[in-house]
Amino acid sequence: MPVMDIERPHGLPRRFEGGDPMAGVPRPPAPRPRGCAAEHRHYPARWEPLSGPDLLDRLRVTGRRRPRARADLVQVLRSGLESGLGAVGEGGIGGQPGVPPGAPHPAPLVVTKDRLTRVLACEAHAVATPFGQRSNSVALACGAIVDALFRQLVTVGSIGDPMADGLAALAVDGRQSDLVGWVERLSGTERDELGAEVERQAEGLRRRWPALDPSWLPRTQEAMRVRLADGALELSARVDLAIGRPAGDVASVAIVEVKSGARRAEHRADLHFSALLETLRSPAPPFVVATYYTRTGELDVDPVTDELLMASARRTLTGARRLADLAGGAEPGRTAHPLCGRCSVLPEGDVGPGPSDGTGPGARRDGAGEGR
């Protein structure tokens, strides 16, 4: 095969590969003698985001053995999901066995990371905002443009004028024409703000994101689909970047999601959902999943373990069952959340209690009068 695994570093262990994990990392200086001005006692060394080869090493070298192909693990994950889904509704999620050729096929219930996150956060909110329907905003536009620029950087190795390139990329994709039109109608100030943020994040990408060896088969916007329960349910994801040849006996794929906004708890769950799908569709799991924050240069890396996959399967099952129940006509429950009072979708809701009292996102309550 003229394809390669993501090449592992040779020679001495580098950072995060069994050696001193702090080797090479700038350390704070020794305490200054008494009498110095207070401000001088602060660490002068700022945290610097990883860049270039260091960033790549952080992705490649997890400090763990790469997972091996495990048919038994895949079987456990798949059967756990399918048996759990079989308990949904009176007869479970119906399958499609025996559909004669030519006869219409019932559409599967599609479970994406967004749908999962939304239904687990608040069923009522998820039902009130139909799938794929999002309000345009500067943050959304920034995210879409930065995604396009990241794709461009990986593919052609350069970014020209970030706003022009990003908007051209979105415009050529017919699905984004609404967002492009919205950006073009922005007032001068808002557009300048958007342009400045896009420019800043693009510059960060140019300076920090490493060039990827083409032999690692980097591919952007890779779709993943897994059908379960005789095709009645489809798990679906699209990842910003997958690197590494498709797995053989040993994991060889790394998955990266790019986020232009602030770090949020659900980003990790999204990543784990992608890891679950890659595991179910491939001989081996990905060896690592990561989120790269273009605003700050932060890189959250999760080595993929059995526990991570099992937890993701449990979360997916919980969400898929709720989605199936809702699709079957069940009354959506409301989940209290501190942001309920600012919810534009269900403005009639009261402010929910915070997560600190044990009723945060995921703690479902079916009482009336609660919103998000």
Partner: protein
């Protein structure tokens, strides 16, 4: 053995079935009779073009059959396969090490040749040349992704050197009505060693195995859908052997399926074509004029 080696081995294994002349003639009659009946009510000038996507939409989105066709406009999705195939061909020929290496130069060469000669090998050259930098990058990224999926699906070193990547669609026009045209689009055609002596129904020519790359997941009718590609190839070239095998690859789902082409598989595919053509005609007739 890796999944790629397994898939390549299944693709290139000696044929296990063949279709004789009689079977082929019977199949043609069956299709002509069935289509003649199903499209009898179709107004003139509204031909039905049957393709693999139409076979799928007819079952997954039957309501789309009556929808008017959108006027054609170039999109990255319309470029990804043809550019992707050219990229894979360039990699298989050893000109580039990987699809990402190849996609830019292959697209640039196509545009340069069009600008120099006016000849459009792919048809999209003027459109791509006129796009802004960011839009071009999106087109290239799409094609690189498609090509990478095909490139990493097979062990290219294990294929016959005469393997054809891409090439013209197979087409057949139903002689009974001329209102139905079948189009089959295979991504790779791999020559196979003939099965035993005298098994071939078309002289000494070797049968081929076809490869089809699709998005999404295999449908419950994947067997008939894959056999459809062999059916159109068989109808188009009666003097050539019927393709012996069709391998479907669904990279999104990490799935592959193999159909060994025998008379039964072709009959099932022909029946699916008739069912689909009938559904298209009924959908069109249901739309008020």
């Amino acid at each position: 053995m890796t999944a790629v080696e397994d898939r390549t081995g299944a693709l290139t294994a000696p044929p296990v079935a063949s279709v004789g002349r009689d079977g082929r003639a019977a199949l043609r009659r069956r299709l002509v009779d069935g289509l003649g009946t199903s499209v009898a009510t179709l107004p003139a000038g509204e031909p039905v073009v049957v393709t693999l996507p139409l076979l799928r939409f007819a079952r997954t989105r039957p309501d789309s059959l009556a929808a008017p066709e959108e006027p054609f406009a170039w999109r990255p999705a319309f470029v990804r396969r043809s550019l992707g195939l050219a990229v894979v061909e360039a990699c298989a020929a050893g000109r580039f090490g990987s699809p990402l290496d190849a996609v830019g130069p292959v697209a640039t060469l196509a545009i340069d040749q069009w600008q120099e000669t006016g000849w459009r090998t792919f048809h999209w050259e003027p459109w791509l040349a006129g796009l802004a930098h960011g839009a071009q990058a999106t087109v290239l990224a799409d094609a690189a992704g498609w090509a990478t999926a095909l490139w990493s699906s097979l062990d290219w070193s294990g294929l016959d050197p005469r393997t054809r990547i891409g090439g013209a669609d197979d087409q057949w026009v139903c002689p009974a009505t001329h209102a139905v045209r079948l189009k089959g689009r295979s991504d790779v055609r791999v020559p196979l060693a003939p099965r035993g002596s005298g098994a071939s129904d078309a002289g000494n020519e070797e049968p081929v195995a076809l490869v089809s790359l699709s998005g999404g997941c295999p449908s419950p009718a994947w067997r008939e859908e894959l056999a459809y590609l062999a059916l159109v190839a068989a109808l188009r070239s009666p003097s050539r052997p019927v393709p012996a095998r069709v391998v479907g690859v669904w990279p999104d789902a990490g799935a592959d399926r193999v159909v060994e082409v025998d008379e039964g598989a072709l009959v099932d595919a022909a029946d699916l074509v008739v069912t689909t053509a009938t559904a298209v005609v009924e959908a069109r007739m249901s739309v008020p004029a």
